[in-house]
Symmetry: C2
Subunit: 282 residues, 2 copies
Amino acid sequence: MDIEIAKYSGYCFGVKRALDIAEETLNKYKKKVNKIYTLGQIIHNRGVVEGLSKKGITVVNSEENITPGSILIVRSHGMSPVVLKRIRAKKVKIVDTTCPFVKKAQDKANFLSRSGYFVIIIGNKEHPEVIGIKEHIENNNFAVVEDIKDVKNIGKKEKIGIVVQTTQTSKKFKSIVSKILEKGKEILVENTICSTTVNRQNSTRELAKRVDVMIIVGGKNSANTTYLAEISKNCNTITYHIENYKGINLSWLRGIKKVGISGGASTPEKDILKVKKLIEKL
Amino acid sequence: MDIEIAKYSGYCFGVKRALDIAEETLNKYKKKVNKIYTLGQIIHNRGVVEGLSKKGITVVNSEENITPGSILIVRSHGMSPVVLKRIRAKKVKIVDTTCPFVKKAQDKANFLSRSGYFVIIIGNKEHPEVIGIKEHIENNNFAVVEDIKDVKNIGKKEKIGIVVQTTQTSKKFKSIVSKILEKGKEILVENTICSTTVNRQNSTRELAKRVDVMIIVGGKNSANTTYLAEISKNCNTITYHIENYKGINLSWLRGIKKVGISGGASTPEKDILKVKKLIEKL
């Protein structure tokens, strides 16, 4: 059986950077503070988060659980500046790992809003990145559009500014922007999809077209990994989305000639290689 | 036979305004100056232009033919400020009938260009309105896109600003903008299609769907009239584009139950009514 890993696959710059900062923080402060927290997972990968937890980073899901005198590592997806201000006021040291591309989307949303634009964020309503971007808008003149159908609920506006979750697909982005064009005369589009996302999506699509089965490795709660699986399915290729090698069912590969593997931005390279090794044993 | 005229049809605000200004100019200056010119047709309708010619407005096609001491009426489509400056320097009085919506597109193109955007004008390359808009851009950082295929020739840009010929269809505009989204990260879309154009297109489409034959009345060189014919054809309705009632071939209407009529922004109401009367005689 032939096995090929997508050219662009696994950790992106922003995830690598967040994990490096987390390790540095552990080395520097672990013995000096009582606790090091992240509010939500630092990246959307269970294995990585469990590893960091063993090293001393505690994941909490509510700001109330963050105790004074501790350190909060802001996750790669960013977060609300209002919540951050409240936490800082509790004498908590903040270490920010927000991905610079996410930061850019936050800043653009803030700028558009201050410039009088009604801001539309294209992205998953419940995703922490989108929630963080939204909280950078200082008024109520905004909407989150997850699906083209959501555009119907937006009235006509004088000026509309658009930003997009960094890991959305270009295809979805384009179709939603096209629909938004009906809603206003002046529309400023800030395409904040990050370039590594585009490369990863393109190389997954390219590989999916050439193989019989695609295996996408990464967190089920990872937006960008889920999109890779969707892109692969849209190539009419049998596709399985697994969190790690343990998710493989070897019956999937019986009689198959060529398998492709790709991983999301929050998937460690070793997770991808483990999947490859397991398949090679067949 | 049932005959119905589209709800929004015939002269738009900008055309009416241009013709009113032309008549005023004739009344006020005809006896005081040696010549009154337009550079190209004041509106794209042969009958109207011939009528004005009889009253004393001479159409020339080159600025060299405009003589000192005369008046130049700037056509509703607008024109190049550079050419206008040269003509003014010849001691020619300028009377401007540029449609305010076209003026807005010109100003937006100028502003976008001064603000560092690469400007894309969506429109017909040879149309005087597009040529006029183009000439309001003071550098070479622009392109005219007539067709979605033209977008291919444009390289990646940091910032793209888009304006559109006032009489383009929303459908074409949207599909071209969607393609342009691939070319830059920041795209400022100024939808300069005028609202009367949208109303006229929508009511023509609505009528075309309910009749057996559509007759579109107006200049063959009128972009907006030509689009009405295209819209009607796209409803799978048999469509004829005629300049005036003389263009009708009565054999088109044999055995037909319902006929729709629509006219472009530069089509006089009387031209539309004449077509209706001729058909009623059947």
